[in-house]
Symmetry: C2
Subunit: 261 residues, 2 copies
């Protein structure tokens, strides 16, 4: 006899022991039967990377004694975790994939660098309703508790309504403060950028090396954006698609003349 | 006195010595002043990954004697190469970034896994007209010559017309054959997937490990898609954007009720 409870796969990019994923697992356990397949080490900034030139490990692991969920620790990226889970680890297709809770923002343009969101996008590619959750607090000791009822409500809504093929949700949550969250807002991705400030250093042998670093700059003040919602203490929900075609520019391009000289 | 010739940055994901990038450099040299910043080793499948938890190297290298271009070999991903080039290596902003020629297809859904295309997307984020080129031939000895006049024409057109902020081009080229290419077509990204077939093996110490492998499955037969164009021996050009919002699904989502129970 199989369970009538939803079957939920949990993933992240900060690694399987991160407080963010431990919180998400405990919420998932209230909603259904849970399997965790998550990276054995931090994979932040991995985007939609997959491992094609080397092997992958994915082994059962016990992190909490007597916990209801099954867990697997994987040597690969968040997308590898989802691919391995669906095609090698799980005995049936999950009803939902949830990824996170990321320690740090994945709003706006961060979505394209985010391993957390790439796990959700991979779920969308597989036709599985998928959500990535991120808290705007990079600290390992971040307070996830005020977000719990909102995360649970979003998961319940997606389990009830589903999502269209090829669409997942990017959920960002303001940093917890004494002020209560004002609610949930559906948004579009703001147009923003990272302005890099490369840190150039010299190693003990006199050779140059570099650290990437930068400042996030928003130049989109639309009140329908995720950045606006987050600044106003709302939880932002952006539906994210898998078709990267810049559709609005297609008609103009059809006029182009590529003559071969 | 600065040159009036366009200033072109060349990148790829197969590594700086790959025949694909060597071909692209030789085309770029016909069009402008060229700097190459490319990975020191293969970075296929890296998607939009960036290196944030470790250091990067980026050192001058001479690969061809007496060549006009300057070249730098970088320890990071294709996106790292573009970020380092723009913010630490180059003394001025490039007029164009070209990435590739990739050994293998980046059509359809491959765009989201592609390091080649992520370099172009990063260029688009910086407001620099950027193009990723890929040949549908994984062989190291692939014949890039029949594609040369088309690649040159597309680069010339982009140098002349520019591209809107946040839009780059994904150019895929059929494998060379005795039949001549039928021309260039502007397309949208086809809806396709990889159906994974995970290869499970046992190591000499009896522990399981995995290889990702799979089959590309197209289920979009629209005659306006890149897959259609490539199958008909056209070179496909898809304008790719950086806003992942699934805009067509936004109105439906605004009806959702997220009540907190």
């Amino acid at each position: 006899m199989t369970s009538k409870r939803p079957f939920i796969l949990v993933c992240n990019d900060d690694g399987i022991t991160a407080p963010g994923i431990r919180t998400l697992i405990s919420i998932a356990n209230e909603l259904g039967d849970v399997v965790v397949v998550a990276p054995d080490s931090p994979q932040s900034g991995m985007g939609h990377a997959i491992t094609i030139n080397s092997t992958l490990r994915c082994d059962p692991i016990i992190i909490e004694d007597n916990a209801p969920q099954q867990e697997y620790s994987c040597s690969g990226t968040p997308v590898d975790c989802v691919k391995l889970a669906i095609n090698a680890i799980l005995d049936r297709k999950p009803d939902m994939i949830i990824s996170g809770i990321n320690h740090g923002s994945n709003s706006s343009i961060n979505v394209i660098y985010s391993g957390t969101m790439s796990a959700a996008v991979e779920g969308a590619l597989e036709g599985i309703p998928s959500i990535g959750f991120s808290l705007l607090d990079y600290s390992w000791e971040a307070d996830f508790n005020p977000a719990r009822p909102f995360i649970k409500s979003i998961c319940e809504t997606v389990l009830e309504k589903g999502l269209p093929d090829g669409v997942c949700l990017n959920v960002n949550i303001p940093r917890a403060s004494s002020e209560r969250y004002r609610g949930i807002r559906i948004c579009r991705q703001a147009r923003a950028n990272w302005e890099e400030e490369i840190d150039v250093r010299t190693d003990p042998r006199g050779r140059k090396y570099y650290w990437l670093t930068g400042t996030f700059v928003n130049f989109d003040y639309g009140e329908d954006t995720d950045e606006w919602a987050l600044a106003k203490n709302y939880i932002s929900v952006v539906p994210v698609g898998i078709d990267l075609t810049a559709g609005s520019y297609l008609p103009a391009m059809l006029e182009w003349d590529f003559s071969i000289k």
